[in-house]
């Protein structure tokens, strides 16, 4: 019943997309399409939430006579897909709500309205799929519809290149997934998930499938070094789509990885638990370092997505390590941490993108060098963005803290692992994660500080106005969810119970009957966290401090200008700039990780023009992996190109020698 209802939702979204295609010239088309998307995703959200809370109500597989004739298409909702459906439809509903206001500024609605509901439909279909063909078809549908959205503003500089790169990486990832499913299906070609589960592959084959799943899902999620397309393509799309791609589509990729590796692949081997957290840790640190160096607000957020995907994969990898050693409780903890972070990241990343979108729509700027002081002009957006920044920086009492804290709890259990490699590696990954968390804090100090604080750096920022009420509503709902998930994490952990149980064979102890809404993941003796108490403490101490300052300190302040607070010149250019903020980090990591190159151009003596400091940064994986690969492909293509210009006899000779070689192979091979 659940799967059936959700399939109707998918169909309704596709119909909305078709309607958008037909009606996009009408003045009310934008509002109608987004309102329909909002209603449908809200319905899907309710259905999947009910499915997650009462997993017993989920029943069998629905087969439709579509697709390959001997296979058909199969759809099924289980606890895992119910959870991810919930995540996706929360993000989808909020993006639709935000777009009710934001979409009015769209100059080419015909390029967005048909694809937005189709994109949502594709993501839902991936989660509903219960056989490899349907999964891959929906996956590709999702990729292509999001590609169309990335290309919505294709004339803007760089967008066409971003779209091309995205298409290339998406095809590559789908190819890897196709091969993975081919190996899983085995020689008999059993593409049904239920049939794959029946016969787990041999150890060598499962290792290859793991690598292919890492490549396939990782290229969509943005694991380093497959992340290169993400910071280009995510910001290129309209903002509500950026939020969906960053906050939600990367989660579909995580779902693909979990479905293949935890569900279909059979019991893990211990070294999987070394590879996956290692890649996750590297991804987290690289992602946040890149984020910290960006001056483009949306690109900063896209790089920060790479970081959070790293954190999620660390959790998933630890779950694999513990599960391989039959430490089910610890595996359940790590898996809970990863899934909770999936949920949390979808909330605050959507929120932050909405904030960036609000700034973009009222100022037309994404460059933080030209923003500033917006807290006075856009107070409500600033407040919501601040909450999102605190949540993504893992500050209590918000939700980001809970999931990262749980990840660290899982890392602290690593000394009990029997393998020495893991004993050494996992704490190192923990150190990477701690570094990433600290840098994420710095990164969002930068994002919030330079966008909303200080003095406006351009006229357009000086005259900005706060955004419309639909967008504000979307942001505030997400901010409220961040807070609720932060102070009442026990309920969310309990709701995840069936998913964890199904994937790792154990689940965390029930949290809801504990006193004062504390969460205690392992045992009372280890550690516990009480979001509510922290929240009350923060509220109380902050109010008292504010009261004290206003009562005693402010009253004593007299206005005077003896020293101008370091701003004798009133030009906003004298302020600390985003580039200056990240300069120490750039200097520390610059020469190795970013191949940073700084150059000071002094004007000749007597010339009054200003000196210029030029900084050039390179993406290391791009230089080390992609550029040589592109050169190799170009070289081969050029060599093969000569085949286009043979004589008739040349072609005949080619065919003849190919025939003779094949015949010889046949003769020898027998």
């Amino acid at each position: 019943m659940t799967a059936e209802l959700l399939l109707w939702c998918v169909a309704a979204l596709l119909a909305t997309g078709a309607a958008g295609l037909l009606l996009h010239r009408r003045p009310m088309a934008s509002a109608a399409v987004y309102a329909a998307s909002l209603a449908i995703t809200a319905a899907a959200l309710t259905i999947s939430a009910r499915a997650l809370l009462s997993p017993a109500s989920l029943n069998g597989v629905i087969s439709l006579p579509l697709g390959l004739p001997w296979l058909g298409t199969h759809f099924k909702v289980d606890a895992l897909s119910a959870f991810f459906l919930l995540v996706i439809n929360v993000g989808g509903a909020m993006a639709s709500l935000f777009a009710l206001g934001y979409g009015r500024h769209e100059e080419t609605p015909g390029r967005v309205l048909p694809f937005f509901p189709a994109f949502l439909a594709g993501m839902n279909a991936v989660l509903l799929a219960a056989d490899a063909f349907t999964f891959l078809f929906a996956w590709e549908f999702m990729s292509l519809s999001s590609w169309a959205l990335v290309m919505a503003h294709h004339r803007r500089a760089g967008n066409a290149a971003a779209g091309y790169l995205y298409l290339l990486m998406a095809s590559f990832g789908t190819l890897a997934l196709l091969l993975a499913f081919g190996l899983l299906a085995g020689p008999s070609g059993a593409y049904d998930f239920a049939a794959i589960r029946q016969m787990p592959p041999a150890a060598a084959v499962s290792a290859v499938v793991l690598v292919l799943a890492l490549i396939g899902a990782g290229s969509k999620a943005g694991l380093v070094p497959l992340h290169v397309w993400l910071p280009l393509a995510h910001p290129a799309a309209p903002t509500h789509v950026s939020a969906l791609m960053s906050g939600v589509m990367t989660k579909v990729a995580v779902y693909g990885f979990v479905r293949i590796v935890f569900d279909l692949l059979g019991p893990p081997t211990w070294w999987w638990g070394a590879v996956v957290p290692f890649i996750g840790g590297i991804t987290a640190v690289m992602g946040v370092l890149y984020a910290l160096l960006q001056n483009d607000l949306k690109r900063l957020l896209a790089y920060s997505t790479v970081e959070n995907i790293g954190i999620i994969f660390v959790g998933l990898g630890l779950a694999l390590a513990f599960e391989a050693n039959e430490m089910q409780a610890a595996a359940a903890l790590a898996f809970t941490a990863a899934l909770l972070h999936v949920f949390n990241h979808s909330l605050f990343k959507s929120l932050l993108f909405f904030g960036a979108g609000a700034v973009l729509s009222s100022t037309g700027e994404r460059d933080m060098d030209r923003l500033g002081g917006l807290i006075h002009r856009m107070p409500r957006t600033a407040f919501a963005f601040l909450i999102g920044s605190a949540a993504i920086s893992a500050l209590p009492p918000f939700n980001g803290f809970v999931s990262e804290w749980l990840t660290f709890q899982a890392i602290l259990l690593s000394p009990t692992l029997p393998q020495w490699l893991l004993k050494f590696l996992v704490p190192a990954v923990g150190a990477l994660l701690a570094l990433a968390a600290a840098l994420a804090g710095a990164c969002f100090v930068k994002a919030f500080g330079f966008t909303f604080l200080g003095r406006p750096r351009s006229d357009i920022a000086r005259e900005a106005a706060d955004t419309d009420r639909w967008s504000i509503a979307g942001m505030f709902i997400l901010a409220a969810l961040c807070l609720v998930a932060g102070i009442l994490p026990g309920y969310f952990i309990d709701a995840l119970g069936p998913v964890i149980e199904a994937m790792t064979g154990a689940s965390l102890p029930r949290q809801e009957q504990l006193d004062w809404l504390t969460i205690v993941p392992i045992a009372q003796s280890r550690s516990s966290y009480n979001g509510l108490l922290v929240f009350f403490f923060i509220v109380l101490s902050a109010s008292l401090a504010a009261e004290a300052i206003h009562r005693w300190a402010s009253a004593a302040v007299r206005r005077s200008a003896p020293w101008d607070c370091g701003f004798p010149d009133s030009s906003p250019a004298t302020q600390y700039s985003p580039g200056s903020f990240s300069q120490p980090i750039r200097r520390v990591f610059g020469s190795v990780l970013f191949r940073a190159h700084e150059e000071v151009q002094m004007p000749p003596p007597g010339d009054a023009s200003p000196a210029r400091l030029q900084v050039r940064l390179r993406d290391l994986p791009w230089d080390v992996i992609y550029a040589p690969m592109a050169r190799a492909v170009a070289y081969c293509a050029e060599r093969v190109n000569a085949l286009q210009f043979l004589t008739i006899r040349g072609y005949l000779t080619l065919v003849f020698s190919a025939l003779v070689v094949l015949l010889m192979v046949l003769a020898i091979w027998q």
Binding site: F645, T647, I648, R649, L652, V655, F656, L663, L666, A667
Partner: protein, 221 residues
């Protein structure tokens, strides 16, 4: 059941066809080449007629008649007239290294026997030998097409490939007549098209050496 004599005669015809294919390879005059091709077609038609006799398949007589009428008589006559009209009947075509071409041909026959005999282990003896010979004729025809420069020689190489296909098809029992007729007609059409094409090339470039065509292609690297 095939008697030893019937087998031997069929074998003789198939073997002669391979021999005539070799003869095609070392002809260096246009007229000689066309005459040898007529011989090639004649041998094919005998071979097909013999197959019709031993398989008691009367429709194969029609195939044989078509081969005899069109390929052994009409096409050689047309080619002779074409050669005369093009004024290349005295041309000595440089065959690139007769010795080398013949050696390559021997290698191809060895290859086709090595390929064919193991895979057709279940088939009857006659069919096996026939298939091996037919593959040799096809490969020799291809070799001829790539070792000659003149367009007329290429047409002849192409048609000798077709003779090889007929040999293969009649050796295996029961190729429908329709297929044979359509193949024969397509060969005839190909001859006409190529013939017209040859005169057009000749008018435009005053030669039928296809190497010179290459310089007139639209796209160049």
């Amino acid at each position: 059941m095939i008697t030893p004599l019937a087998f031997d005669v069929a074998h003789l015809f198939a073997g002669s066809l391979v021999l005539v294919s070799f003869m095609l390879l070392y002809q260096d005059r246009m007229t000689g080449l066309v005459n040898t091709f007529a011989l090639h077609a004649l041998v094919v038609s005998f071979s097909v007629a013999w197959q019709a006799y031993i398989q008691q398949a009367p429709h194969l007589y029609i195939t044989a008649a078509i081969a005899l009428g069109i390929k052994a008589i009409v096409i050689p006559v047309v080619l002779h007239r074409m050669i005369v009209r093009l004024g290349i009947h005295r041309t000595i075509e440089p065959v690139v290294g007769v010795g080398l071409t013949m050696l390559a041909g021997i290698g191809l026959i060895a290859l086709s026997i090595m390929v064919m005999l193991p895979i057709t282990a279940q088939a009857g003896t006659l069919a096996r030998e026939d298939l091996a010979f037919a593959l040799s004729v096809i490969l020799l025809g291809l070799l001829m097409m790539i070792s000659r420069r003149n367009a007329v020689s290429q047409v002849i190489g192409f048609m000798s490939i077709e003779n090889g296909l007929i040999l293969a098809a009649t050796g295996a029992k029961g190729m429908p007549l329709v297929v044979e007729i359509s193949v024969a007609f397509s060969i005839l059409v190909a001859l006409i098209v190529i013939g017209i094409f040859l005169f057009r090339i000749r008018e435009r470039f005053e030669t039928v050496d296809i190497h010179l065509l290459h310089e007139h292609r639209g796209e160049q690297p």
